[in-house]
């Protein structure tokens, strides 16, 4: 476990160096394009975390183990932070490319709605008192809300004209990214996923210890 931690640290340092020194700049955007190595992985992890939270919600509804619900909350919290960071980096990019921080571009709207879904999830959780009921309601809500995510993330930006840079790795148009950029991009994606996994594992260890002290989650 410790070895993974240090390897991840070294990997991310390499990614940072690569993002600023090794990868070339994109045509027309200049050095601004370097944000792609941070913005996209953050957004990707935000959606991934929500997906894992939803899987745990399904698991909870099937098996009734409160641990699944706890893990769903943990992933939702981490996902919220990553989505917030993705929104902020996107707004910064928007400011320096198009002049305004926010203009309700379809992709900006969809990441904003993802934030709202996370927010609604936590508000719903805080409104229900009973633990079992809270877990059930939150699980059902996260599954229902997840249904609108593919519509938001994939369909709306394709249907509406958007200023957002085209997903350059969309499979219809083939790989159009410069190979060096692609290497750093992929490395950054793996690195950020690794960071997410590491934070999640720390959180799980905390949950286990807390369960041991406070009693079993199902009986305590």
């Amino acid at each position: 476990m410790n070895l993974c931690k240090y390897l991840l640290g070294i990997w991310m340092i390499l990614v940072l160096l690569g993002a600023f020194l090794y990868a070339p700049t994109a045509l027309g955007l200049g050095h601004l394009s370097r944000i792609i190595y941070f913005h996209v992985p953050l957004a990707w992890v935000g959606v991934l975390a929500y997906f894992i939270a939803m899987l745990n919600s399904i698991s909870y509804l099937k098996r009734g183990s409160l641990l699944n619900d706890q893990i769903a909350v943990v992933n939702a919290e981490i996902g919220l932070i990553f989505t917030l960071l993705a929104t902020v980096t996107g707004a910064v990019f928007a400011r320096y490319t198009w002049g305004v921080f926010w203009n309700w571009d379809p992709r900006q709207t969809s990441i904003f709605v993802l934030l709202l879904i996370y927010g609604a999830y936590f508000i719903l959780r805080s409104a229900v008192e009973d633990e079992e009921k809270r877990a059930r309601m939150a699980s059902v809500f996260s599954i229902i809300a997840f249904i609108s995510v593919p519509f938001l993330v994939f369909i709306i930006p394709r249907v509406y004209a958007t200023l957002h840079p085209d997903p350059i790795i969309s499979f219809e148009s083939g790989f159009q990214m410069d190979s060096k950029m692609f290497q750093v991009f992929l490395a950054s994606l793996i690195g950020f996923t690794g960071i997410y996994g590491w934070i999640a594992s720390l959180y799980y260890r905390y949950l286990v210890i807390r369960t041991r002290i406070e009693g079993d989650l199902n009986n305590g």
């Binding site: 709605v113 719903l124 409104a127 059902v140 229902i144 609108s148 519509f151 709306i156």
Partner: protein, 228 residues
């Protein structure tokens, strides 16, 4: 047991009839939804009446009125059960799926009732562009309202179990409904300038597929919300 001699269709119809009779006696939900819509419409018409508005603006106003008036009334179907104490009897008298379909149909009827009153009044008060394709606009209104009803039925059931009941539904429903609202507004705007079916077909398909998916998912998940 009496319920075994009913088919599920009979059970659904019986539940809808019960809700409609209850609604006719108190007329609370229907009048509140109509009054809310009228108030908003009057405000909009009063302030913008002097201007000729873009079709996109017309569509936006129409859907704002529909969305917010429906939020006030759609939650009532389940919260009323909890407040009047009839929820427990309902839970043991029939299967969750029957309850879900009945409440969904009831919500749909209420929204359609709202549209019947709202759309003609909107045409009269707001003067949208004369070239509008009425049939297409009505199709969008009905389809969009069906998506609204389909999503808010299960969310209202969730909210009825939570603490801060009435205010919670718009907060929870809005993120889930945003794709529907964006598409419906865009489609209605296009239909209002007189475009034909081929132009707005992607939006219609979007709304229809969303409706099918959300109703299916809600039907599968409703037992978890409804049963203790």
């Amino acid at each position: 047991m009496v319920s075994k001699s009913y088919g599920w269709v009979d059970a659904v119809l019986a539940l809808i009839k019960k809700d409609l009779i209850d609604e006719c006696r108190t007329r609370f939900a229907f009048t509140s939804i109509i009054l809310f819509a009228m108030t908003t419409l009057v405000m909009v018409s009063f302030s913008t009446g002097a201007f000729v508005l873009d079709s996109g603006l017309h569509a936006a106003f129409l859907w704002i009125i529909i969305f917010f008036s429906s939020m006030t009334a759609l939650a009532r179907s389940f919260i009323k059960e909890e407040e009047q104490g009839t929820a427990r009897i309902l839970k043991i008298s029939t299967t969750p799926e029957v309850v879900f379909i009945a409440k969904l149909m009831f919500n749909l009827v209420m929204l359609l009732g709202l549209l019947v009153v709202l759309y003609p009044l909107y045409l009269v008060l707001m003067n949208p562009p004369a070239a509008n394709n009425n049939l297409l606009v009505m199709l969008f209104l009905i389809l969009g309202s069906s998506c609204l009803a389909g999503t808010t039925t299960i969310l209202a059931a969730i909210v009825s179990q939570a603490g801060a009941k009435h205010t919670l539904l718009p907060i929870i429903a809005f993120p889930v409904l945003l794709p529907v609202l964006l598409t419906a507004i865009r489609g209605t705007g296009l239909a209002l300038v007189g475009n034909f079916l081929n132009v707005v077909l992607p939006d219609l398909i979007f709304l229809f597929s969303f409706l099918v998916i959300i109703v299916t998912a809600s039907l599968l998940l409703f037992p978890f919300v409804w049963e203790d």
